[in-house]
Structures are given as C-alpha cells and as structure tokens.
C-alpha cells in the first residue's frame, strides 16, 4: 500500500517543483475532409474537429481535479493542411480562410493552440505546399491560436534548400506582418528537420499521415522536479547523477501515462504516445538552465554545457522509456531561450551565444528555439541558420528545428515581451557575415551517406 512519504513526495513535486502535464494533444486526421470547394472544406474541417474534440477541455479539467495534477494545456494537432486543402485552395486568401476556420474551432473548443498549419517539403514542394507557405504571414497575423510548422529536410531525403530559402523570407514577412506585437507571429512558426508525426508540443505539432484517425498524445514536463532531485545529491559521481535523473524522469512519465490512459478511455480515442520533455516555462524553478547549473556549469554556455546537456537528454529518455512502452514525440530536454529564465539570465550576463546554442542543439531534443534576433537580419542569414540546424538534424538522425524571431524595429540589447508561456527575450546578436551566395543556389542538399560512420 502507498505510504505517507510517497504521497508527500508526489504532492511536493506538484505544489513546489512545478510538476505538471504540459499538454493533452488530440491528433485529428483531416484527410477525409478534402473537397474541391473551399467553403465545403472549411465546413468539413469545422464539424470533424468539433465532433471529436468537443469534450477535450472538460475531460482534461476533470482528470486534473481527480488526480490533483495540473494539466496546463489542451491542444489539437491536425493533418498537415497542405495535404488536405490542395484542391480547394487556389489562392493565398483561400488558405487564410482555412486558417481562420481552424482558429474559430480552437476558440470555441477552448483550446489554446492548434498545430498543423503545416507542410512536409523535405524533398520537394507541391503547388499546394508552396501556396500554404506563402500564406503563413497573413494566416498567423490574422489568427490567435494557429501554429505553423514546415519540415524542410530529413535524414532520408536531404534538405530542400529551395524551401529553406523561402522560409527565410517567410519568417521575415511574418515578423513584419505582426510588427506591432513584437513580431509575435514568428513564435508560432517553426522550421523542422526530421519532424516526428506524433509530437504533442507546439509549435511543431501536427498529425502525421502514418497516424490513426484520432489519437491522444500527452506531453509531460518537470524540469523543476529534476533540479530539486539533483540539489539533494550535490557532489555525487556521474553514476549517481544519471541514476537520479532517470528515476525522476521515470516518475514523471508514469504520471503522464496515467493521464493519457484516462483521457483516452474517457474520450474514446486511442492512446498514442507520451512525450517526456523537460519543457521549461518562465516560472522560477521551472528551468532547464537551472538543471545544467546544478549539474555543474556556472552558466549555460560555459565550457562543459554541451556534455552536461547530452547527459541530461539521454537520461531523461532512458527513464521515460522504462516508464511507458509508447514514448514518442520529441522526448528530451528543450532549450528555448525566452521560455526559460535561466537561459535569459545566461544571455544577459554574456555566457550564452547563438553559436553555443547551436552546438547544444546537437544533443538536445529539438533545436534553436524562441530566440529573438535583430529585425534587420537578412532573410538569407535566417535561411543560413535554418540550413545549419537542418544539417545537424539530417546528419545526426535527430529532430532539429528553428523558431527565431527577427523582431522588427529592435536590435541587440533590446528586450522583447511575448507574454504568458512564451516569456520574454533579450535580442541576441548573430554573425553579421552573409551567406547569400550559398543560400541562393537552387535545389537540395543530398541525403547523407548511411554507412562509413566514423
């Protein structure tokens, strides 16, 4: 039988160490909503999402109350919309109309983000893909809850540099379209390489074509819990350090597994995966940077940071895999800047630069995330950053991503306030030497060799 110290430990994690279920994300297949008429398409989408996700928020709240664990977000991911809207959408405005329909459903259902305004263009772009990409600035400027992601490369296909170049421009246009709100649109736009089909976290969530009609994916978080556990074992050797992280990750994942199974049962929708990601928030103590400091670097960015992060990421996965048979999504440690007070402090004190962050993305679970850069950064330089990140993902067979915000009218030294979970960020300097001739080459970078691995 459960004893009192176990009960106290669990409740302490929830009340003092920010343990929460970050999101219940319902993945919904929209392929069967396709139509040649955009009005019919929007109706089909509206009714299908409403039918399946009507009880999502209420169910999430019920589970939260009964188990005493906060479930912070209830979200929806959908089939990449360029696959669904190809024959209906002939213009950018048609696509924007679809985005607004999705935004309306999201608002009515009470969910905070809907992901899947997306295209998978890792090898080539269809006409529909390109139209969707070109509609992103307007779509994100005229909606509140829509998240967009574009997959521009993979280990199997190489990197579509035409899409990379285009995304450099689209990020700039999105920043300009939302200039009056600190270029907020870019916080909902991510460019990925090796994007997983079952990721429940925004902004990169979409419901891949390999998935069932509807699915429940759950994202669990808890950097504060890991940090606290490590605080209790200061000076321990690496074996004990790793063991502590694994045990903690195990416990956190089990809570996610329970919530996912309950949600799946109550909603009558199959359970997909648990994504155990240490996803920081701006709340004090809910920080991946603080864990790195606890492991032993003075500030994130100091020598040793990449090794410490590699260790953390791997132990989190190992603990999570033991706790649930279906671990998926991104599972690992996120290293966003604006959403992590410890990272913000590290940037402000000069310890952390974008180049070190890039090195860290080789071993973290995603990539360059929530980084504000000067508004006058050329589109080609942004494309260069995307290409670098995609290359890291492609060669290392991992997911990488870029979510950067070239904040219009701001430059190094300024601060940007996004609010809520998105936090605030100092504008970071980037290398001012250009890469225009590289980025303007047409075509794609071939897939890497899968043998001769030295």
């Amino acid at each position: 039988m459960i004893n009192i110290s176990e009960v106290i430990e669990t409740n302490k994690m929830i009340e003092h160490e920010n343990l929460d279920v970050r999101t219940i994300t319902m993945g919904i297949n929209l392929l069967d909503c396709a139509d040649t008429n955009v009005t019919h398409l929007c109706e089909n989408i509206y009714y299908k999402i409403t039918r399946l996700a009507r009880d999502l928020v209420r169910t999430g709240n019920d589970i939260s109350r009964e188990f005493g664990i906060p479930i912070v977000n209830k979200r929806i991911s959908i089939t990449p919309i360029s696959l669904v809207a190809g024959s209906a959408c002939q213009t950018i405005d048609d696509y924007v109309h679809v985005a607004q329909t999705l935004d309306k459903v999201a608002a009515e259902l009470g969910i905070n983000f809907l992901g899947g305004y997306s295209a998978i263009v890792s090898k080539g772009m269809t006409q529909s893909d390109e139209l969707l990409i070109r509609s992103i600035p307007k779509a994100l400027a005229s909606t509140e809850r829509i998240c967009s992601s574009i997959n521009v490369g993979s280990t199997k296909t190489g990197i579509n540099m035409d899409a990379v170049r285009l995304m450099g421009e689209i990020i700039k246009e999105t920043a300009a379209a939302t200039a009056e709100r600190d270029s907020m649109g870019c916080t909902k736009l991510v460019v990925l390489c090796n994007a997983p089909d079952d990721n429940p976290f925004m902004a990169g969530a979409f419901h891949g074509v390999s998935e069932a009609d509807a699915i429940i994916n759950v994202g669990v978080s808890g950097p504060g819990v890991v940090k606290y556990a490590l605080e209790q074992r200061r000076g321990a050797d690496f074996e004990e350090l790793c063991e502590t992280i694994k045990r903690t990750a195990f416990k956190i994942t089990r809570v996610g597994q329970l919530v996912a199974q309950e949600a799946s049962k109550r909603l009558g929708v199959p359970f997909g995966i648990i994504d155990l990601s240490l996803a920081p928030t701006p709340a004090i103590g809910d920080s991946v940077a603080d864990i790195l400091k606890e492991i032993g670097v003075d500030q994130p960015g100091a020598p040793g940071t990449t090794a410490a992060l590699a260790l953390l990421n791997d132990q989190v996965k190992k603990g999570g895999v033991m706790a649930s048979s279906y671990v998926g999504g991104l599972s690992g440690a996120f290293i966003p800047v604006s959403e992590d007070q410890g990272m913000i402090d590290a940037v402000n004190c000069g310890a952390l630069h974008i180049e070190k962050l890039e090195a860290m993305t080789c071993v973290c679970s995603v990539g360059l995330d929530m980084i504000a850069i000067p508004g006058d950064t050329p589109a080609t330089s942004i494309a260069g950053i995307i290409a670098d990140e995609a290359a890291i993902g492609m060669v290392n067979q991992k997911t990488t991503a870029v979510r950067i915000i070239p904040v219009v009218g701001k430059t190094v030294g300024d601060n940007v306030e996004f609010g809520g979970l998105l936090g605030h960020a100092p504008v970071m300097p980037i290398n001012t030497f250009g890469c225009q001739r590289f980025v303007e080459r047409k075509g794609r970078i071939p897939a890497p060799i899968h043998s001769f691995k030295n």
Binding site: M1, E66, G68
Partner: protein, 90 residues
C-alpha cells in the same frame, strides 16, 4: 473498491482528524488506513479511503473537503490513488 487518498497539511490544531472523519462517515466513505507525520513543523496526515459507496460525485466531495480544510486553516486534498501508485510502483 474506489480508493482515494486524502491528505491534510497545515498547522496542528485540536480536532482536525475528528472533523475529517465525521465528514467521511456522513458521506458513507470507509477509511482503510490513516498515518501522520510532522514534516518541517507541519502536520501531515494521509488517509486511504474507499469512496465506492459514496453518493456524491468525487468533485463535490473533493471541493467540500477543501472548504472544510479552509475553515480549520489547513489544506485538504483529495486525489485518486492511481497517481501515487503509478508513480511509486513498477
């Protein structure tokens, strides 16, 4: 069996257990186990209860217990047992 865990945390005063037990008895909730400890000068009590014969919905009982706690200046939480079981047992 519909097991839940009730926890009471706060400054120790006279009659906390009595009041919680009275509420549970009035609502046909059977107590299976009680234990208590002092952590950092705070009174911590845990009860394992069976709510399968309770007439009220879980949320109502949980809210009422919370309110009862507020009156006594302690925090009372009611959670389904599985969250602890899953986390601490393989």
């Amino acid at each position: 069996m519909n097991k839940s865990i009730i926890t009471v945390v706060g400054k120790d005063t006279v009659g906390i257990i009595a009041k919680v037990c009275t509420y549970l008895a009035d609502n046909n909730v059977n107590i299976l186990d009680i234990s208590q400890t002092i952590v950092q000068e705070y009174f911590n009590m845990m009860m394992i209860v069976d709510m399968s014969r309770m007439k009220k919905p879980f949320e109502v009982a949980s809210t009422e217990l919370g309110e009862l706690g507020e009156k006594m200046g302690v925090q009372i939480k009611c959670q389904r047992e599985e969250i602890f079981d899953k986390m601490h047992r393989i």
